[in-house]
């Protein structure tokens, strides 16, 4: 089933933090009556792109519902709204949450009916739904809003099909593209969208969000999580929820002993991440591990040290960094990335992947 509702719930109920600039930019365009028909919302994973897209969609649909009701015109010109926020009790928001708003279309990767698995790409049939959606008038009489999440996932045929919609947009239709890697989109798509880049939040802002959700942690934990999240609150929460701190500790302590490997500890870690149930932990591990490697490479190339909250990493860099040249590190990093990707594509044993990664680190360290 291609049900995107879990994400929908997530984004509809999340508070968007620290993206006031982007919200303002959209609102200004709206109030000045210069609303571009397509927007490309970009930024790192977990920073709030989809949340912003849903917020915008909700705002557009809720305000067009008010606009069409008879009462609004009694007060002469409508007052320009100064916020995108829509009240939780607004029935439009209710319907968006239950997936029954006829004027919102969300396009994600769909499930392949034959295999029962989620496809790796957004395919052309998914995008064709958009053409049908745009070819008929609005259900509730106002705007029609479509979200593509994530636009990077469109394959080439899907992207070309989308291009046709971008070229000849109907009246009162808004298209929101969410993208972690806008560079991967067709240049012709990018050039037809107004770009809205969401910036990473400051550590303090991330800490505030963490504190409101996980009040039981201590200050240094908050700071570490914020630093690890790279300014993306979604990622920070993900780390907090999935014991990212513990995992981070285990990874760094394993790396500390390099070039010697603590074999029992490594196997313990690999075992705990290999099972199907530990899927989310495995993904956390993968992200954390790749981030550490990235910082290591940055250090070895430019001498840039890790953020203060991750002070322990610096020690690691000092000992590990000089053991290889920058290009060797890059090479290693590439190989690991390739391995992670192919592991997902063909369902390789995750334990083996983990052991190989550390083996490689140790092999030449």
């Amino acid at each position: 089933m291609d049900d995107n509702r879990p994400e929908l719930h997530l984004h509809m109920s999340s508070k968007l933090v620290g993206q006031e600039g982007a919200e303002r930019a959209f609102l200004d365009a709206y109030n000045d009556d210069k609303l571009q028909h397509a927007w490309l919302i970009s930024g790192p994973k977990g920073v709030g792109k989809a949340t912003l897209a849903y917020k915008v969609a909700c705002f557009m649909l809720a305000s067009s519902a008010e606009g069409t009701s008879a009462g609004a015109s009694l007060f002469g010109d409508a007052i320009s709204p100064d916020s995108l926020t829509v009240d939780d009790n607004n029935p439009v928001k209710q319907r968006i949450i239950s997936g029954s708003h006829g004027d919102l279309m969300v396009i994600n990767r769909s499930v392949n009916v034959k295999t029962g698995k989620l496809r790796n790409d957004i395919v052309v049939d998914d995008v064709r739904k958009l053409s049908k959606f745009y070819s008929q008038t609005a259900s509730e009489g106002g705007w029609r809003v479509a979200i593509i999440d994530a636009a990077d996932e469109m394959n080439i045929n899907a992207a070309n099909a989308l291009l046709k919609n971008l070229e000849e947009p109907p009246e009162k239709a808004l298209l929101l593209l969410v993208s972690h890697a806008p560079g991967r989109l067709l240049p012709t798509i990018r050039s037809r969208c107004r770009q809205l880049a969401l910036k990473p939040l400051g550590d303090d802002a991330v800490v505030d969000i963490l504190r409101s959700q996980y009040p039981a942690l201590n200050d240094s934990d908050y700071k570490t999580l914020a630093a690890l999240s790279g300014g993306a609150p979604g990622r920070a929460l993900e780390l907090a929820e999935g014991d990212g701190l513990g995992l981070y500790g285990r990874i760094t302590s394993l790396m500390m002993t390099l070039p010697r490997l603590d074999i029992p500890a490594l196997h313990q870690l690999a075992d705990s991440l290999a099972s199907i149930k530990a899927d989310s932990d495995y993904r956390l591990f993968r992200a954390l591990f790749q981030d550490i490697m990235q910082r290591l490479i940055r250090f070895s190339a430019t001498g840039q040290v890790a953020p203060a909250a991750l002070i322990a990493e610096n020690q690691l860099f000092e000992t590990l960094g000089p053991t290889r040249g920058v290009d060797q590190w890059l090479d290693l990093w590439e190989k690991m990335a390739e391995q992670f990707t192919s592991a997902d594509a063909v369902n390789l044993d995750r334990k083996q992947i983990l052991l190989t990664c550390f083996g490689k680190l140790a092999g030449r360290a």
């Binding site: 509702r5 879990p6 977990g46 029935p91 409101s212 979604g234 956390l284």
Partner: protein, 429 residues
């Protein structure tokens, strides 16, 4: 599952929620999610379960099985069988004074029917449409059906000794098809509407890239004899144009394109009702009201091409044919053509029409029929299926074919119904 539950819980309390499945692509079965939502929004209050039974009723009515079945038959056909969003599989029940309104929608069309019922407690809820329909279908003829909903419970359907409990979702989640302001309003007799639809419908295009042809264009046409209401459909190969005397109130209405599916739903209902149909429309919505049943539909958001340019006016070669003889002859000779093109050649010369088909596989077929034709001899090819489609719409005994040359559009006209006109493009071999 575990994730979804906590997600929804937190969502309901308006807080930040577990975000760590952003990347996981987890899929939660729609029914499961629906069930959770249902229990969440109607939290069961176990401790008080057996007290105040009557006061906790949210909705309760009884209705005769046949009338319920008829209503469900009317509304459920728009609901898609396979739906990933649970609420879209549901039908909404709204019980008011002695009346229950049933609403179903696929987000493009909504069908609403009001049915008299014995309402004990006014209220509303939504339940899976096909399941309810299947249940009612299997209940014995003439049974009294009681539908009741207590707070925190499922919808109970009782008839005789059968008892069903159905998962339900709140009315607030149900899609809204807002008709908005419908400034143009007129009335057609069922027979008239039926005629407009039937005579135009066969020419609707199924090609989705030209979406503006995927429906019937209903508009006001200015003619020599004043204004008429006109329905036009075309797939680019043939065109059907049907006119109707201008009903009161239609003057000044915008031209609208009724989507193919809407045409189909309305056509089904036309057969069930006699008398008048109220039609109201704006440039974005249309509403058909039959007695107690209402259809609200979106329109196609596009511009219908200027078809009047392609209807020829100077075709001077007239062929008069007995319609039945013509259709039978076309049908007979085209038996021979096995390929998809099905071309039939018409050769006309002084009161004789010769139909011929040549198929490289199966051979040839020819048939001569007597015709009224006095113009210069002419040969022209047509797609036999297109020709038959049109001849089937002709009511009168004879059809007039107006020709020019083998490359140009040909007009076919019903001798009995001159307000219907068909344009057919020839085929060339």
């Amino acid at each position: 599952m575990r994730v979804a539950h906590s997600t929804v819980l937190k969502q309901c309390s308006g807080q930040w929620i577990r975000p760590n499945f952003i990347d996981r692509g987890e899929v939660i079965p729609a029914q499961v999610l629906g069930a959770i939502l249902c229990t969440l929004k109607n939290p069961a209050q176990d401790s008080q379960r057996h007290k105040y039974e009557e006061e906790r009723q949210i909705m309760k009515f009884t209705i005769e099985r046949n009338s319920l079945l008829k209503t469900l038959n009317h509304v459920q056909s728009v609901v898609e069988r396979r739906n990933t969003i649970p609420i879209l599989s549901n039908v909404m029940l709204e019980a008011s004074d002695d009346m229950v309104a049933f609403t179903a929608t696929d987000l493009d069309i909504a069908v609403i029917e009001n049915t008299p019922a014995n309402v004990a407690v006014k209220g509303s809820i939504t339940v899976p449409a096909h399941t309810l329909h299947d249940i009612v279908r299997k209940l014995p003829d003439g049974a009294e059906v009681e539908l009741s909903l207590a707070e925190g419970e499922r919808l109970t359907v009782k008839a005789g000794r059968s008892r069903f409990q159905l998962a339900c979702l709140p009315k607030e989640d149900f899609p809204v098809m807002s008709a908005g302001d419908l400034p143009h309003r007129f009335k057609l007799m069922s027979e008239e509407l039926k005629r407009l639809i039937d005579k135009a419908r066969f020419a609707i295009s199924t090609e989705e890239t030209r979406y503006y042809l995927n429906g019937i264009y209903l508009h006001v046409a200015e003619g020599d004899s004043g204004s008429n209401l006109r329905a036009v459909a075309t797939d680019g190969h043939r065109l059907a144009q049907v006119e109707q005397e201008m009903p009161d109130g239609a003057m000044g209405m915008p031209g609208v394109i009724l989507p193919r599916k809407t045409v189909g739903e309305v056509r089904k209902l036309v057969d069930e009702f006699e008398g008048g149909v109220d039609i109201s429309l704006s440039d974005t919505k249309v509403r058909f009201t039959f007695d107690s049943t209402t259809v609200i539909s979106k329109l196609i958001d596009g511009t219908f091409p200027d078809y009047t340019r392609v209807i020829p006016i100077g075709n001077d070669k007239m062929l008069e044919m007995d319609c039945k003889v013509f259709a039978e002859a076309v049908d007979r000779v085209s038996t021979i053509s096995s390929d998809k093109t099905r071309s039939v050649k018409l050769s006309m010369d002084s009161d004789v029409l010769t139909l011929s088909v040549t198929s490289p596989d199966s051979g040839t077929a020819t048939e001569e029929v007597v015709a009224g034709y006095q113009a210069d001899a002419l040969e022209i090819g047509f797609n036999s299926r297109y020709l038959l489609d049109i001849l089937q719409q002709i009511e009168g005994d004879s059809v007039q074919v107006q020709l020019a040359d083998p490359q140009s559009p040909t007009i076919l006209q019903d001798q009995l119904d001159e307000a219907a006109l068909y344009v057919l493009m020839p085929m060339r071999v």
